[in-house]
Assembly symmetry: C2
Homo-oligomer: 330 residues x 2
């Protein structure tokens, strides 16, 4: 057993999370010698699910699950029974990376190596569970434009809840002022055809909804590592096709609705707007998290309300521009 | 070691997830006998981090971590070194419960008992990681009104993405029709004061945003077990206070904006509406997940877009009702 001093690693790194209590056994040991060594150890080490086999420079040569060690004959060499290809992780890696490794390889502990390849610690699944829960909660709250909250909802004070929610709501008011300004610019159009206002909530909501769907899919996929930044063009290409199909479907649906409620001219304007706002909203939703991620900002900040508010401004401009243009043709 | 036949447990239960390979040792064994027994076993058992001590009816008496067993003297009795209070879980319990136990007690394996208290299996942390990730993704997607997707975003086909998104978007169109109908009912008011339309996106978005914040906090708190159904009245009481403060702050912010843009009358209407829509939106956001949960439906179905759309309808009615009433006083 070796205990290495835990260095000062960055806050969200693997190094800051790892335990420095682990079992490392020299590679020339036999099974019997390893068990003797283990049994002589005090009980203060946290986790001995695996015995790590190392050379004299503490480089990881292999791993032996404790249960394999116990069932092997005393005289066998460790190098004969060990699994030589060890999954390990750098102490500098992001801690979310560990959860990914454990899920992918179904292992409950991952050895941690430093820049030189020497074994310096181990990370256990129970610690990772805490992280996964914590990071997921962060992402969830950000997606709803709630500030970072480490307290549970039940214990959170009124003051804390107010503070965490008010700033984002006010930011979104600011974004929405542009929607108001856009509408003001089209005052004449609205006065001419008040029926256009009936469809305003429907159109801007649909763009925002399509956008927040797209944003959530991307934010989650980035968080779990399913999608990387280099997939941008591929994702964008696919999203244009998906959003186009969604827009066409939605456009057809509101064409009937518009025709029934306000006649053929308004129906045409509404349907065309729907197609465009769904496509534009979806592209905003898919791009915003990727842009944030590109500039090393947290993609989850591209929250559903933010995407919705930005998509709203675009929706208003698209809607009344088309209407004004179409009105000129009437 | 005992192997029990895995019964047919419900799909999302602990029983369906557990491994039936575990190590159970009679309670009259010594450490030496237990190690002998372990070493005679074949290596086909999946996880032996813990040795479970049982009586002759397979009732769990205690647990000995494998590492403690190894460091104890041969002649000691298992009952002397075991931890007598064992954390266990019922095979009928929901599988999310296991993640909760592991996080709370920092353990990597939880023994599973049947209705009669007999040990029937064990659940390991690596299996739980898969579940946590899966259930979190489900909740994320539902919160954005995307259908259940088990495929990663990168691999998902255009057809799958379209299918998972279109149905919810169309449902939300349906909800939004009520917003349109509400606006149509107030056509005269709008014709009298077109400036009211400038503030429409701002007001309905703010209600929706406050609501989706509240909904996300509740959905996540329900998923992690931080909040139970019986906390409803307490949560609702706290939310009324928080939402009231948020509404006042937002109302003051738009009072200035409204005054500058459309004069004192519209400003008063807009500010009063803002206060009310933020409170109403928040109460919808906090209640919808709890109501769904009460009827044993998935609270995450109370997605941000759904909450937003429902809050929008309320917002439109509140806004134009206040405006019409206020217009009569002008």
């Amino acid at each position: 057993m070796t205990q290495v001093r835990k260095k000062d690693y960055p806050v969200e790194s693997v190094g800051s999370l790892m335990s420095t209590h682990f079992v490392a056994v020299p590679d020339y040991y036999t099974v019997g010698e390893a068990i003797q060594l283990l049994r002589r150890q005090a009980m203060d080490t946290q986790s001995k699910y695996y015995v790590y086999v190392v050379d004299d420079r503490l480089h990881l040569k292999g791993v032996v699950p404790l249960r394999y060690l116990l069932s092997a004959a005393d005289e066998r060499k460790l190098v004969e029974i060990m699994t030589p290809k060890v999954i390990s992780i750098s102490a500098e890696a992001d801690r979310e990376e560990v959860a990914r490794l454990m899920r992918e390889y179904d292992i409950v502990a991952v050895p941690v190596v430093d820049g030189g390849g020497a074994l310096v610690g181990v990370i256990n699944a129970d610690d990772v569970l805490d992280i996964v829960e914590e990071e997921t909660r962060e992402d969830f709250h950000k997606m709803a434009s709630v500030g970072l909250m480490t307290t549970g909802l039940r214990e959170a004070s009124v003051r804390l809840l107010f503070q965490k929610r008010v700033s984002w709501l006010l930011v979104l008011v600011f974004v929405n002022i542009f929607s108001g300004a856009a509408i003001a610019a089209f005052e004449e159009t609205i006065e001419a055809v008040v029926a256009l206002v009936f469809f305003l909530p429907l159109l801007i909501d649909s763009g925002g909804n399509a956008g927040s769907q797209a944003a959530t899919l991307v934010v989650r996929a980035l968080a779990t590592g399913d999608v990387k930044l280099r997939d941008w063009s591929r994702l964008l290409g696919k999203e244009i096709v998906v959003a186009g199909l969604l827009g066409l479907t939605m456009g057809l649906a509101v064409l009937l609705l518009g025709f029934y409620r306000a006649g053929p001219e308004v129906a045409a304007v509404v349907a065309l707007t729907m197609l465009l706002v769904v496509v534009v909203g979806s592209l905003i939703g898919i791009s915003l998290p990727l842009i944030l991620s590109r500039f090393r900002l947290d993609p989850a900040t591209a929250s559903a309300p933010l995407v919705t508010s930005v998509a709203d401004v675009c929706g208003v401009v698209i809607y009344f521009s088309i209407a004004t243009w179409y009105l000129g043709l009437w």
